[in-house]
Symmetry: C2
Subunit: 233 residues, 2 copies
DNA sequence: ATGTTTATTATGTATGCACATAAAAACATC
DNA sequence: GATGTTTTTATGTGCATACATAATAAACAT
């Protein structure tokens, strides 16, 4: 009744996951240390380490030096969402993508925007609004503010052919960002653009992108009604 | 003008990220292979490999055998969301958590639910509805269906003191799950429970949890108005 | 009893080496 | 020229070893 040998880290990972799910290792319980597992699985400790590290990354194991590795008590689900460029999102579903720029001008942003971008209240930013369309149906409304100090080239771009989304990705470096998911009620204007009833519940993604200490851009994307983002757990 | 040596994979990663952000390596561009980088950084190829793998995991690099590693053209943002147990979510903000079970009975679920759980339409499931409360204000409404074939013990549990959320986490193994984020409009009943206007836009998480081929539970959590989930990018 | 120092130990990681594998590129064949 | 086959090459991974580090437990001193 010997355990079969596990050659690669994936198979070790699978076995570890099996034991966790089968409750052979119960939540909160300490599991054998890497060296022992390596012996049991007939592989090197490095391999066990890699497997356990992967499982820990997914949140199912808690690891601490000296204390050892234990099964997470409340495995706070970690879902990795991929937020694609809208064009890709649409084209990957086999729909035709269309883009329509609605507005583009320099203006002082509302306080909510200048605050989020940590930009002086009266400092003008480039405001670009656009509609993303899938199979001739409005798909998402994009409301974006761009900091021309950080991206001076944006002032020479009309954003009529290429969406600001893609243009910025291609031309602008950034270091980090914040992203917020929420549900918002469609305003009159938004409803008109998205051709949905006013006050429809819209899935919304807000994103602020930074290059060092300067905000590059802030964008709010309002998706059409019934839009959903799904992922495996 | 020699590059300083990078001792550990984190510092290699930092340097790689710097080069990407600084556009020394431009989007779409092929970067030197691992062996060359190892030589340049004065470390082993394994170390470079680990660093590049980490960056690739975050979506900024595309790696393919033989073809080499290149900077992602459109780094589809990958956001890792942590979906905590609601009680923890509330308590971590220093608010008091309260829980109120609204309903619990065996019933044949609506088609949408039995379909999602791949359960026969007329097969009765345990329906548990509850309200999660933060500082005496309704926080989230939980609408859950539990498969008693998979979790027979649930039939002996009133879910009055412990939320089904936590009880299941503690008692039920599972293998995988699906999760869907969306925005929904509050129905009359939901609005009443959450003490918000009818048709408010509510952030919604739908989750189906499986143990092998059997659905363990399906839950829809409706968060109160203005709820948002944020994460770093 | 209590605080402080010193082992001890499990994980974390760097390294050199070997070999596996996918996929591009070169080549041969029809 | 199109198609199938072989070679080449960059990444992917396993392993043994060594040492680093964090955190606990044990030993020690006060």
């Amino acid at each position: 009744m010997n355990t079969p040998t596990f050659r690669n880290w994936q198979s070790v990972q699978t076995e570890v996951l099996r034991r966790i799910h089968a409750r052979e290792w119960k939540p909160g319980e300490l599991i054998p240390n890497e060296a022992d597992l390596a012996l049991e699985f007939g592989c090197a400790r490095t391999t066990v380490n890699r497997a356990l590290r992967a499982v820990a990354d997914s949140g199912l194991l808690d690891r601490r030096r000296k204390a050892g590795t234990r099964v997470a008590i409340q495995p706070a689900a970690k879902a990795t969402l991929t937020i694609p460029v809208i064009r890709n999102e649409i084209e990957e579903r086999g729909q035709t993508y269309d883009y329509h720029r609605i507005e583009r001008h320099l203006a002082a942003p509302p306080a909510a925007v200048s605050d989020a971008m940590k930009s002086p209240a009266d400092h003008p930013l480039l405001h670009v609004c656009a509609l993303h369309i899938a199979d001739n149906v409005p798909y998402a409304f994009e409301d974006r503010w761009i900091n021309p100090d950080v991206v001076p080239d944006a002032l020479n771009e009309s954003f009529e052919a290429v969406s600001a989304n893609e243009w910025l990705l291609k031309h602008t470096p950034y270091t980090h960002g914040e992203i917020v998911f929420a549900a918002t009620s469609a305003t009159r204007d938004e409803a008109a653009f998205l051709k949905c009833p006013e006050k429809s519940a819209l899935f919304t993604i807000d994103r602020v992108t930074w290059d060092g200490e300067f905000a590059v851009t802030k964008v709010r994307v309002l998706y059409g009604p019934d839009h959903q983002i799904r992922t495996a757990l």
